[in-house]
């Protein structure tokens, strides 16, 4: 049922705006892949290209061995969930879900009872049993979302595509649906691609995350890969919070001003660079040769995390520092920071 999706060097322009600039991506059968990026990065365009709702200027999309350029929308067998759900509002839930089955050519169309049974099964699957007779206007946002998913699954799609599936829902419903979708994917095993601008969502849900920026894929990898080993400064800044320090690399050490802040670097990178350090990788220490002195200017708490804003001489932006539970600096206190881990990128 599920097929591999191969995207080969896709280019797409709208008027003169290049939406995609040479995007390639291999998706395994049954894999759950997130397309993550800021708005305007081309992620939705890529999803619509896979669906066949847009045509590429060059490059192609393969389902298994089949070149999709020769397939009609019907023959692609795509389950697509739209951001605004795109439910048919003059049809009730059962008619919405059964629409794809009833649209098949006569000789492939299941019988009336068969369709009714399939609709019932799908409603059970999306945990909305008994809502057959409701109209979309009588459903909550989360329920509409699940009806849209059931409608997409009804045609036994080869590939399931979701455009910002949780974009229009409130935070609590998003969390619930996220866990539910992960579980559903585990049970049904469709090759699934979803678009999101929410990095937390992408990292939690997807087997692999493809991060797009300005029409290019900057990195593809598991959540751990992209978070712990970001390939570019953009990914560093896009995934979670990060402090940026302009440094100079000499030998195996990185210097902020004339003070060494990070050691043990491989020898081959030298010259000016940017050091990206996440708040949880900055530790307050008593004395160490590689340390950054600063002044605590602000303290705040965000749920379980206590955060200090530390001003460092020669740096315009204050550093964000996560505090260990036993550490309690006072505002105005002079402290020293050790960088436990950082990502270094040569300055462009």
């Amino acid at each position: 049922m599920s097929v591999a999706v191969t995207i080969e060097t896709i280019e797409k322009r709208f008027d003169n705006f290049p939406a995609l600039r040479g995007v390639s991506l291999d998706i395994q059968p049954g894999e759950l892949v997130a397309l993550l990026g800021p708005s305007g990065s081309g992620k939705t365009t890529l999803l619509r290209l896979i669906a066949g709702l847009e045509e590429a200027d060059c490059g192609r999309v393969l389902f298994g061995e089949t070149d999709t350029r020769n397939l009609s929308l019907r023959d692609r067998r795509i389950g697509f969930v739209f951001q605004q759900y795109a439910l048919f509002k003059t049809m009730n839930v059962a008619e919405n879900i059964g629409f794809g089955l009833k649209s098949r050519p006569r000789h492939e169309r299941p019988g009336r009872d068969e369709i009714r049974k399939r609709v019932g099964d799908l409603l059970d699957l999306v945990q909305l049993p008994g809502l057959e007779k409701r109209y979309p206007s009588q459903l909550s946002g989360g329920q509409r979302q699940r009806v849209a998913l059931a409608r997409a699954l009804a045609i036994e799609p080869r590939v399931l595509l979701l455009d910002e599936p949780f974009g229009a829902l409130d935070a609590k419903v998003r969390k619930d649906l996220r866990a539910w979708l992960r579980e559903l994917h585990g049970r049904t095993g469709h090759t699934t691609v979803f678009v999101t601008h929410d990095q937390e969502e992408a990292l939690e849900l997807a087997d692999r995350v493809a991060i797009l920026n300005e029409g290019r894929i900057e990195q593809v990898g598991s959540a751990d890969d992209v978070y712990d080993h970001p390939a570019t400064p953009f990914i560093c800044e896009f995934l979670g919070e990060v402090n940026k320090l302009p440094v100079k690399v000499v030998g195996s050490q990185a210097f902020f001003g004339d003070r060494p802040v990070l050691g043990g670097l491989s020898q081959n990178q030298g010259g000016p660079a940017s050091l990206y350090v996440r708040p949880q990788h900055l530790r307050i220490v008593d004395e160490t040769p590689l340390a950054l002195p600063g002044t605590v200017e602000h303290l705040r708490r965000n749920g379980p995390i206590r955060r200090a804003e530390v001003a460092v001489e020669g740096l315009k932006k204050r550093l964000e520092v996560d505090l260990a539970s036993q550490v309690a600096p006072a505002i105005g206190e002079r402290i020293r920071l050790r960088i436990a881990h950082g990502n270094l990128f040569a300055a462009a």
Partner: protein, 298 residues
């Protein structure tokens, strides 16, 4: 509990004031402009006495005029519903040179004095007019075998019931276009894309997905075009030929009665038109209200 369910509530209490004032103005304006004149019409018709009312109401000429007025209006509204919908679709969906001009031209039947429209239509649809002369060779007559029923087209439009319909189509078109257009503009293209991806043919997408949400607006446009067509006078009399029993519309019959100083007779015909129109329009509105309640707005 019982008090709440049994007491008649004039209105739901609201925090926002203005109901009394708004209702007062509404009732006053409606009375002065619509209800009192219509009541006077009923009184005038009643002054004729039952026998005379019956005689006027059942006279063959009255019945023929009413039949023509309502059937031609119905036909014209149907034609307008179909072509108005297509026109609105084209104006909303496609961008082409001259789109704004056509969009503006749709409203011309509103603005043009109806007599001007009638005279123009009569001139071009007359047997020697631009269009009329082209239609003349197309005359045909078909007889359905075994039934003896026959219908045909004798090549004439102007000065026949067909001419009446042409005039009514002309004046009713903007109603359908202008009521359907905003609804089509609101239709999301993702619904169409969803239907296509689910495997629906283009025809199925149009009839099951695109049209149903447009239907209430189309119905409104249809009812408006119909109502306007029933009451139309100015354009029709120039193209109809006004042959009693053949191409004489009810509004014209009313004017003829007036010119004969038969005010009660005129009032009786007018009252009949009023009652039929009101019933049909009410029915149309009820159908729409039901559709709106059911689907709501998503």
């Amino acid at each position: 509990m019982t008090a709440a369910t049994t007491t008649f509530r004039w209105r739901e209490p609201s925090i926002l004031p203005g109901f009394g004032l708004a209702l007062g103005i509404t009732v006053t304006a409606l009375s002065l402009i619509v209800l009192i004149p219509l009541a006077a019409l009923f009184l005038k018709a009643a002054s004729a006495g039952p026998a005379d009312i019956w005689a006027v109401a059942t006279s063959p000429r009255t019945l023929a005029a009413l039949k023509l007025s309502f059937s031609a209006a119905l036909f014209a509204a149907l034609v307008n519903a179909v072509f108005g919908l297509i026109l609105a679709w084209v104006l909303v969906r496609y961008d082409f040179p001259g789109r704004r001009l056509i969009d503006a031209a749709v409203d011309l039947p509103f603005a043009l004095p109806t007599a001007v429209a009638g005279i123009s239509l009569a001139a071009i649809y007359a047997p020697n007019g631009w269009v009329g002369s082209l239609l003349a060779p197309l005359a045909f007559k078909l007889t359905i075998p075994f039934t003896g029923l026959s219908f045909g087209f004798d090549g004439k439009v102007a000065y026949t019931p067909l001419g009446v319909m042409v005039a009514l189509i002309f004046i009713g078109l903007p109603f359908v276009v202008r009521t359907v257009q905003p609804v089509l503009e609101e239709l999301q293209s993702d619904v169409e894309e969803a239907a296509a991806l689910l495997g629906a043919s283009r025809a199925r997408t149009i009839f099951r997905v695109i049209l149903p949400p447009v239907l209430p607006a189309l119905m409104t446009g249809f009812v408006l075009a119909f109502a306007r067509a029933v009451g139309e006078y100015g354009s029709v009399i120039f193209i109809a030929g006004n042959v009693p029993m053949v191409s004489e519309i009810a509004p014209l019959l009313i004017v003829i009665r007036l010119e004969q100083f038969d005010y009660a007779g005129a009032a009786v015909v007018a009252t009949m038109m009023l009652l039929i129109s009101f019933t049909l329009i009410l029915a149309g509105n009820l159908i729409q209200a039901r559709a709106r309640r059911r689907f709501g707005d998503v």
